[in-house]
């Protein structure tokens, strides 16, 4: 059995390749390669389309080979209006194919659930087969039966939270099926990135998912560095790592607090709500902004840490470490909390792999998937953080994985801050190379962030594809609710805590 990657051009994370070296093929071979690859355990990191100079629609697939740390980019040029869908054999492709249909009008024939995904205006004005974009107006899957009722929630839903629509098919309290319909947060970012980069590019990256500023900014900067063959200085990589792990800590602490709130356990909810602020203030100590806006820039980082600032960071880190332990460890000792967490919203590793789940949600199913380990880039090429997993796939597992990651992130930050490499924090960038494909994967706090850039003859972005981890994981939430009590929905939702705007872009 030959390994699929021995026949195809492969590349590493954070690199750019000349498009003429890449794997262009006809549609049947493209389909066969993707289906075969996924059958052997590869994952679909991204799938997207853009127009070529010749007027065709180029369909790209980036396959990720976790165990070999390799990325396999494939493309095929479509001249027709449709092609046989990949989704029936590769469920991971479902969202990407809907997206491509909505953007370009290229119909995946046989897609089991072809409906709008963002309700966005198409990129091709003459895309006749593209669906009309009136948000919320679509066929929702319905279960028939006298005792079955339908519950609709959103877009505006209780709490200070982004909008999305959830349609439950229920029998009594039990959810038979949940459908999640998004698109409310669509701001048109990918469209604006075409022909860039320009003065807004980094800011779009920083606000793609406003709580994942550092994750997306690092991914973007890795793209521009790959395209200009610039290596950011070691000191800046360490500071980027500190920023990424602080972001992870802040969000995970917030999530543990929110999960406590959802089960009515106020002590941890109250303490974590505050401690999250302490973590955000550590990021602000670095760059002045609690979310890390302005921290990361192409070529490195824009701020440095002198000895006094390092000492202050370490002092605050110690306080957060003990406060968080005091607050979070109550959860595992309180039977009312564990009773709510255990067995709620479970997913199996099989489902996890079938739909391409990423991040803590995947690791909570026992799947050892983490970009920092599988495709290390930046500081993670030099430092390994152990993967945090738990086996039960339920709310408890998703909470416990977060707790493990908080502890490991704290250890990492302490280690890096006390051992910052010498040298500059920034290097100027050369121009971006023409006719390249660059791929950048980062383990954001929700999971795998994938950015792909295709440059044109002038070195400008012909297309820039962003895949937030939420794009893979929303479907996981929908599946996790099957057979669950509808009153556990907020708890399950919070255990995933996915980004609406990261999905909608």
């Amino acid at each position: 059995m030959t390994d699929i990657s021995s026949k195809l051009f492969s590349m590493s994370n954070g690199r750019a390749a000349d498009i003429s070296d890449l794997n262009g093929m006809d549609m049947p071979r493209f389909r066969e390669t993707v289906i075969d690859g996924i059958g052997r355990g590869l994952r679909l990191a991204a799938m997207f389309a853009h127009e070529t100079d010749a007027g065709a629609l180029r369909l790209w697939a980036i396959l990720a080979h976790d165990t070999q740390s390799e990325l396999l980019p494939l493309y095929t040029d479509c001249t027709g209006e449709s092609y046989p869908s990949l989704t029936p054999q590769c469920p991971q492709a479902h969202g990407f194919e809907r997206e491509i249909f909505e953007q370009w009008g290229l119909r995946p024939m046989g897609h089991p659930w072809l409906k709008p995904i963002r309700f966005q205006p198409p990129y091709r004005k003459d895309a006749l087969s593209a669906p009309s974009a009136t948000i919320g107006i679509t066929d929702f899957f319905q279960v028939d039966g006298e005792e079955v009722h339908e519950v609709a929630v959103g877009p505006v839903h209780a709490g200070i939270i982004e909008p999305g629509h959830f349609r439950f098919q229920c029998h009594g309290e039990t959810v038979l099926h949940l459908e999640i319909s998004l698109g409310y947060q669509h701001r048109g970012v990918e469209r604006r990135l075409m022909n860039g980069p320009d003065s807004r590019s980094i800011h779009y990256m920083e606000t793609l998912a406003g709580d994942t500023t550092v994750g997306h900014a690092v991914s973007y900067c890795q793209i521009t560095e790959a395209l200009s063959e610039t290596r950011a200085p070691r000191r800046s990589l360490a500071i980027r790592g500190i920023g990424l792990e602080l972001e992870r800590i802040a969000n995970h602490i917030g999530d543990l607090g929110a999960l406590s709130g959802d089960v009515g356990f106020l002590p941890t909810m109250s303490y974590c709500g505050r401690i999250r602020g302490d973590a955000l203030n550590m990021t602000a100590l670095l760059c002045g902004n609690r979310f890390g806006r302005g921290l990361v820039c192409p070529g490195g980082v824009s701020v440095d840490l002198d000895a006094a600032r390092q000492a202050e960071l370490l002092r605050r880190l110690e306080a957060v470490e003990s406060d968080a332990a005091s607050a979070v460890n109550l959860l595992w000792k309180t039977s009312s909390v564990m009773a709510r967490f255990e067995g709620t919203g479970p997913l199996t590793p099989q489902v996890c792999n079938e739909i391409g789940l990423v991040g803590p949600a995947a690791r909570a199913c026992g799947v050892r998937r983490d970009i920092r380990q599988d495709f290390p880039s930046g500081i993670y090429e030099y430092v390994r953080i152990p993967i945090s997993t738990h086996d039960s796939g339920d709310v408890l597992a998703r909470a416990y994985v977060r707790w493990l990651e908080i502890q490991r992130a704290i250890a990492f930050i302490r280690e890096q801050t006390t051992n910052l490499p010498d040298g500059p924090v920034r290097k100027p960038l050369a121009g971006l190379a023409a006719n390249r494909l660059a791929v950048s994967l980062t383990e954001g706090w929700r999971g795998e962030i994938c950015h792909v850039a295709v440059t044109d003859d002038q070195g400008r972005f012909r297309h820039y594809k962003i895949c937030d981890p939420s794009f893979h994981n929303w479907f996981g939430l929908a599946l996790a609710l099957r057979g669950q009590q509808i009153s556990d929905f907020p708890l399950c939702n919070k255990s995933f805590n996915l980004s609406y705007c990261g999905h909608d872009l």
């Binding site: 877009p155 209780a158 409310y184 800011h203 002590p267 303490y271 602020g277 100590l285 806006r293 607050a327």
Partner: protein
């Protein structure tokens, strides 16, 4: 149970004393209201205006910044050859009218409180329905944090409610995407009068970095009557709190 009590003691009382006491310390690198150093700009410069991602800076007839567009990215500060503009530690930037957001070195016209009738209705109990109309979740997070024990918005009778039917007003974040416009208008209509509208963040005020996008509406200001505008990207929780308290006449 004992563990819970011990943890409670270890976590201590953390609610800040502000506004009775001083404001909590802000990071030294914090970007608050811009400070304009005196002296004329070099002729025909416009360097700051050119680099601004949201075109928030006007150089003629004098240097000024539209805080409703400003995302506090400091690119202007870095681009200026003579240090005429920099971002200082002042977190107080909330205003009642859109035109009061132009900063030019003179003191900002910070938000005045509601009139006597407004204070009678809302001064001790203000229930808000938050609507994220394309917000990236940073403004939402920093509004959410105001409910946590450190800031404790509940002290002032301010609370976020689950339904617009229970609300005295809306707090809007995000540039108002085309896909949320309808929902926003329906939520506003569902809120019983008299009602307030608060726009938090550059996106809600002017569209922020999404200004000019056909997928969004350049903020809530052109769509609904806004009573309080809080600039920032995102505004620091202290800036948001300062704005809310000014509106209610507590500051």
């Amino acid at each position: 149970m004992l563990d819970i009590l011990l943890a409670r003691i270890a976590q201590k009382h953390r609610t800040i004393s502000y506004p009775k006491g001083p404001a909590p310390e802000l990071p030294d690198r914090f970007a608050g209201a811009p400070i304009f150093d005196p002296g004329p700009c070099p002729e025909d410069c416009g360097g700051c205006a050119d680099v601004c991602p949201t075109r928030a800076i006007c150089c003629e007839p004098e240097l000024r910044v539209d805080l409703g567009r400003c995302i506090f990215c400091r690119k202007c500060e870095a681009a200026c050859p003579e240090n005429h503009i920099r971002f200082g530690p002042d977190y107080r930037m909330s205003v009642r009218k859109r035109e009061h957001l132009w900063a030019d070195g003179r003191a900002l016209q910070l938000a005045k409180s509601l009139d006597a009738a407004g204070k009678r209705l809302f001064g001790r109990s203000l229930k808000l329905r938050q609507v994220s109309a394309g917000g990236c979740n940073a403004c939402e997070a920093d509004v959410n944090v105001l409910g946590t024990v450190g800031w404790d918005l509940g002290r002032f009778g301010i609370q976020f409610v689950a339904s617009p039917r229970h609300a005295d007003g809306l707090l809007i974040t995000g540039p108002v995407t085309a896909n949320m416009k309808d929902a926003l208008l329906k939520t506003y209509a569902a809120t019983p009068a008299p009602k307030l509208v608060i726009a938090v963040g550059a996106c809600a005020i002017s569209g922020g970095i999404y200004s000019g996008h056909e997928e969004a509406a350049d903020g809530a200001v052109g769509i609904l009557p806004v009573d309080l505008l809080i600039p920032g990207c995102p505004p620091h929780p202290l800036t948001i709190l300062d704005g809310l308290l000014r509106l209610l006449g507590r500051i």
